[in-house]
Amino acid sequence: MRRVTLIAVPYLWLLALFLVPFLIVLKISLSDTELAIPPYTPTLDFSVGWQGIKDFFAALDLENFEFLTTDDLYWKAYLSSLKIASIATFLTLLVGYPIAYGMANAPDHWRPTLMMLIILPFWTSFLIRVYSWMGILSNEGYLNQFLMSIGLISEPLVILNTNIAVYIGIIYTYLPFMILPIYSALERLDASLLEAAEDLGCSRLTAFWLVTIPLSKNGIIAGCFLVFIPTLGEFVIPSLLGGSKTLMIGKVLWEEFFNNRDWPVASAVAVILLLILIIPIILFQRNEQKQREIDG
């Protein structure tokens, strides 16, 4: 009985905070838009009894999903989001791996400090940090001022409102999610494995490729998913740092909800996004499961 109660807690949690909201969104995606509060129809009307429930279900249809296929804006936005998220994840890996490697090889007494520095940005609002990048990257921003003052460039670089700014913003924001799992994999790595590899004829570099990289593989995979999954639906970074040409599904979603007030179409966009994300989420879970089995 106690075990059932214990297991019930996370399931109730999931039910209340994930499944119920998802069902509401799914329902809205099957509705029609209307100028009302709430801005969609049908709504469940219990006052007319059984007939009301029947009418309610009769009014639901897949019209909005069909609409998504007719306008190429949507699938272009999905593809563009996938592309941006993939490239950004790869770039974050390139930046994050050396940092994690450095941390794992730092002297023991340095590690808590380095860890603190990685986590420190979370203490400030995410929004403020993204805004401050606008101040750094804009034409009159600190970066251009600095580069011009040392004479490296004569004309300011246009970075803000381009995809480059979006990449910078994503790498900056999601770097800790990449570093921490890789660091934890590298930290557990037995130093004598590298000595053994060297002893058996590897140079330092081949030992890194043949031992360090394969043994941090699970950390790399976990880090990539932790960056890729939230980046795919990212909205704040592309709308603040990206330009009009930056097409990401999170931004489209926002515009449907708040500019067009078309909740049913916006919900349909969200449902498709979730379906796309289910694949990497399942892969991520399987990776974690495998890691636990090896450790276990």
Partner: protein, 374 residues
């Protein structure tokens, strides 16, 4: 004609494989190895034995190339190895933790070093199979290290280190992680493999029994110095210092003063106690301080005073350690000195003639003990 005894260290014509020449290693202020010179010969099974922190692992890591000497040179086959990085040395190491690659299976682990040498594929296959056979691991080739037992892992580590046919194999506490029974079997297996392959082995251990069992010579170390390097028998029977006598096996140390008397020495060690006699190759001055180190199994214990013995002392049994086949008696003399005596339990325990608090006589011959300078 008897088979030639393997004693290259006594043959002045023999060229050593490894020569340590005035090697010193310091880590900051700490001196790990203090100006050591010694030789290791081809096909030897050389044991570095000592308590933790005595520098034995540092010596081994210098041979592997993971540490470089602060002063002095190490020669391997007459060549200074200081400038050669670990991946280019003709030495291989078996690590204490085994350091098997967890992402590779047993076959790939053993082939790892061979692949680095860009050996041809059929040659690699043949060599790995040979190693698997030598270590009786054929059945486990496709398993991952975490899917086999500790003893099997130990054999994989050995096979991997031997695969490249190194001139010198280094073993860092190779049996430390095994339980007592398995360790004994593995010791004989190690000796067997060492003989079959003819490789020179250097083993680091803190287990004196292990060192005595496997090694052709044992170097007893303390505080960065080799106190004595000799065959197991000589280390045990003829220790050159109280430290070595005390470190290896069980021993009673009696401190006193020596006076030469004919071809032997008289030793007085306490008031009211008879004078002891001990022969020694060392020359002692009259009244020189000395220590008599004597092994418990060389001290006889009896209820009556034995006749015609140069050394006989009476005492009271303080303690008896029953070891099954043997019993060790701790006998206290009237002056408080405790002498250990070991006797085989040839009769049933109930038939033993003496027990706690009994007065007994201890006796030993003139050559039983080792007389050491104080």
């Amino acid at each position: 004609m008897a088979e030639k005894v393997f004693e290259p260290w006594n043959d002045p014509n023999e060229k050593p494989l490894i020569q340590f020449q005035n090697v010193t290693k310091r880590f900051g202020d700490f001196t790990a190895i203090d100006n050591q010179s010694f030789d290791i010969y081809e096909q030897e099974f050389f044991a570095l034995l000592g308590p933790s922190g005595c520098g034995k692992t540092t010596l081994m890591r210098m041979l592997a190339g993971f540490e470089t000497p602060t002063e002095g040179t190490i020669l391997l086959g007459g060549q200074d190895i200081a400038p050669i990085p670990p991946n280019k040395r003709a030495t291989n190491m078996m690590f204490q933790s085994y350091a098997l690659f967890p992402h590779l299976n047993i076959w790939e682990n053993i082939a790892f070093g061979l692949k680095r040498d860009r050996m041809a594929k059929p040659d690699i296959d043949a060599r790995v199979d040979e190693m698997l056979k030598l270590t009786r691991l054929e059945k486990f080739a496709k398993r991952k290290p975490h899917q086999i037992s500790g003893g099997q892992r130990q054999r994989v580590a050995l096979a991997r280190a031997l695969a490249k046919a190194p001139k010198l194999l280094l073993l860092d506490e190779p049996l430390g992680a095994l339980d007592a029974k398995l360790r004994q079997d593995t010791q004989f297996e190690l000796m067997d493999i060492q003989e079959k392959t003819g490789t020179t082995f250097v083993i680091v251990t803190h287990d004196q029994e292990e060192a005595m069992t496997v090694a052709s010579r044992v170097a007893v170390m303390d505080h960065g110095q080799i106190i004595q390097a000799d065959t197991p028998a000589r280390i045990y029977e003829m220790p050159e210092s109280v430290y070595v006598a005390d470190f290896i096996g069980d021993v009673t140390i009696i401190s006193g003063t020596a006076t030469p008397n004919g071809d032997s020495n008289d030793i007085t060690f306490a008031e009211g106690q008879p004078t002891l006699r001990a022969k020694s190759e060392r020359r002692f001055a009259k009244g020189q301080a000395c220590h008599l180190a004597i092994r418990p199994e060389k001290v006889a214990i009896s209820t009556d005073k034995p006749a015609n013995t140069p050394n006989a002392l009476q005492g009271k049994i303080l303690d008896i350690a029953y070891l099954g086949n043997l019993s060790t008696y701790h006998v206290e003399l009237p002056n408080g000195q405790i002498i250990k005596s070991q006797a085989a339990n040839t009769r049933r325990l109930s038939a033993r003639p003496f027990t706690w608090e009994d007065d007994v006589w201890l006796s030993w011959s003139e050559t039983a003990g080792v007389l050491l300078e104080g």
